[in-house]
């Protein structure tokens, strides 16, 4: 088993932190993991990208080729990455920020107002990365919810655990509902 995940959006959305937390959850689950990210000017304000590879055995080549799961949290990221998904894979779209999704054949597209859920239901827009992480864990089978919640609790700033876990659980729940509806 080797699963490749790409989390993409704009700088400031917390996607690298979401990638790190996902990777830590995978370790809690007892699997192998590599997390990489884009560096350089594009990480400030422009496009931002984190990648996670999950496997049962040691991971040799550490870079993502054709991702099984793609999260897009900006229109620019969607235009660039949505169509790179593997046939049979999944694209999770933050429809608060993404208005047009290109035709993605042979992959499942799940639309979810991730940023709106963070802003209005979790209570803080900055938790959009946790809503997204919850969505990925909820429907893409990347980590167990228990491991992911532990990883969230251990990694987020002290005092924000409850807020972030609330956002994470909202993402998981809403994504499962959305998947049922597609």
């Amino acid at each position: 088993m080797r699963k490749e995940v790409r989390l993409s959006g704009s700088g400031g959305q917390g996607l690298i932190l979401a990638g790190i937390i996902l990777a830590e959850a995978v370790i809690h689950d007892g699997h192998e993991v590599v997390q990489t990210q884009s560096y350089g000017p594009e990480a400030r304000g422009g496009a931002s990208r984190a990648e996670v590879i999950i496997a049962d055995e040691a991971i040799d080549y550490p870079k993502v080729g054709t991702p099984d799961v793609v999260l897009v949290m900006s229109q620019e990221a969607c235009n660039k990455y949505a169509r790179q998904v593997k046939p049979g894979g999944m694209v999770v779209v933050d429809e608060t920020n993404v208005k047009t999704v290109p035709d993605v054949e042979e992959a499942r597209v799940v639309r979810l107002p991730i940023t709106d859920i963070a802003r209005h239901e979790a209570g803080r827009q900055v938790t959009a990365n946790m809503v997204a992480l919850g969505a990925l864990v909820g429907i893409a089978g990347l980590a167990t919810p228990e491991a992911a919640e532990r990883a969230v609790r251990e990694r987020v700033p002290k005092g924000t655990e409850d807020l972030n876990l609330k956002a994470f659980r909202l993402g998981m729940k809403r994504a499962r509902e959305a998947l049922g509806a597609t």
Binding site: V33, V34, T36, Y61, K63
Partner: protein, 378 residues
């Protein structure tokens, strides 16, 4: 957080910093530069917690000079940089090599020359790591290909440097430095640590550069009552300058002999499926991981491929290459440079196998498919 024993997600640079502390590092001087900056950041946090010292110096030359001074005073010392800073440190590296001061110099390679692409990987400093400073000189260069290996290999770097009084260059690349992977952190009390040989004689009988049978002179800590002179000028056993031909020659020959004596103890190579390989790959750093995948893919397609993964680049593992070259038809050498160690592989295989390079210099790592295609060509 300073690591407790257990399994953790860690960044390559973080593993370098934490492994160094586990190895006994207590003094770091540096001038931050991408993609090595997290090493300095991490050590600024961690060293004070173990009674160590972190200094951000005014530049790279001051940094290498500071760690040489700290090592002379008895502290295990390290600096970290990238290409542009590595160039500046060469004078100090030569001084440390000639005066036999143990120290570790981390160079996280990025695209060069000059400022290059600061955030992108390359393997262009392999020859500079060996020959960047002037004159014949002993040097050891280690190169990790994963985060977990960074943790264990940096500990070896300190142990080797202390044991043989030879500076060790720890040559990382941007991919290994910045990625995060699982590391099983051992119980620190279980890690085998090596200390430099210290004098067994009274201060008034101490000759700082008189070596015994193992060719490594005992080293006294400055400030411990042993008064001696250290100079980059050619020196005799007392540490004072000399221009006398027999003494000049004796020092050069002892340093060379010491390096040869150390070589078998500091050469680390992993071999993957080389015993029946028709075609082999020689690779290091992150490229060795693409190579491992290429070997598995080739085997799945019926092509008997194998991999020599070098964790020690210098002294060059000639013996491993020679053995594989005796059986394999060809050896492919993928490198993120225009061809540096491919020349050493050619020298070591001495016509026994065809040697073919594979260069990628566009700021992207080499992929398994590129290596596989080259294996099919040769």
């Amino acid at each position: 957080m300073l690591s407790k024993a257990g399994t953790r997600l860690m960044q390559g640079n973080e593993a370098c910093a934490e492994g160094a502390i586990a190895a006994g590092l207590r003094f770091f001087a540096g001038y931050p530069i991408t993609p090595s900056t997290e090493i300095a950041e991490e050590l600024a946090l961690l060293l004070p917690k173990v009674g160590g010292k972190f200094i951000q110096m005014e530049d790279e030359i001051a940094s290498i000079s500071a760690i040489i001074g700290a090592s002379l005073a008895g502290a295990k010392s390290m600096t970290a940089t990238s290409g542009p800073g590595f160039s500046l440190k060469q004078e100090g590296i030569g001084f440390a090599s000639y005066t036999e001061v143990p120290c570790v110099i981390v160079n996280v390679q990025r695209v060069g020359p000059s400022t290059g692409v600061p955030t992108a990987p390359a393997q262009g400093d392999v020859m500079q790591a060996r020959w960047g400073t002037h004159g014949d000189h002993p040097i050891i260069v280690l190169c990790p290909s994963s985060v977990a290996e960074t943790f264990t290999l940096i500990i070896e770097a300190f142990n080797i440097s202390e044991r043989w009084r030879i500076p060790v260059i720890f040559l990382m690349d941007e991919v290994v430095a910045h990625m995060r992977e699982k590391v099983v952190v051992p119980d620190v009390s279980q890690i085998k640590l090596v200390e430099r040989p210290r004098p067994q004689v009274a201060p008034d009988q101490y000759l700082p550069y008189a070596a015994g049978e193992d060719l490594v002179p005992p080293m006294a800590d400055f400030g411990s009552g042993y008064r001696y002179h250290v100079t980059g000028l050619t020196h005799d056993q007392t540490g004072f300058p000399t221009t006398k031909a027999p003494e000049v020659g004796a020092l050069a020959r002892r340093l060379d002999a010491k390096m040869k004596r150390a070589a078998p103890h500091v050469t680390f190579v992993d071999e993957l499926l080389v015993d029946d390989a028709e075609v082999a790959i020689f690779a290091y750093g992150v490229t060795a991981r693409a190579a491992a995948k290429a070997v598995r893919d080739a085997r799945a397609q019926g092509l008997k491929a194998g991999l020599i993964k070098a964790k020690t680049l210098w002294p060059f593992p000639s013996e491993h290459v020679r053995r594989v070259a005796e059986r394999a038809r060809a050896i492919v050498v993928p490198e993120m440079n225009m061809g540096q160690l491919v020349l050493e592989v050619e020298r070591a295989s001495a016509g026994r196998a065809k040697v073919a390079g594979l260069s990628r210099v566009d700021a992207e790592p080499i992929t398994p498919d590129e290596i596989l295609a080259r294996l099919r060509e040769v």
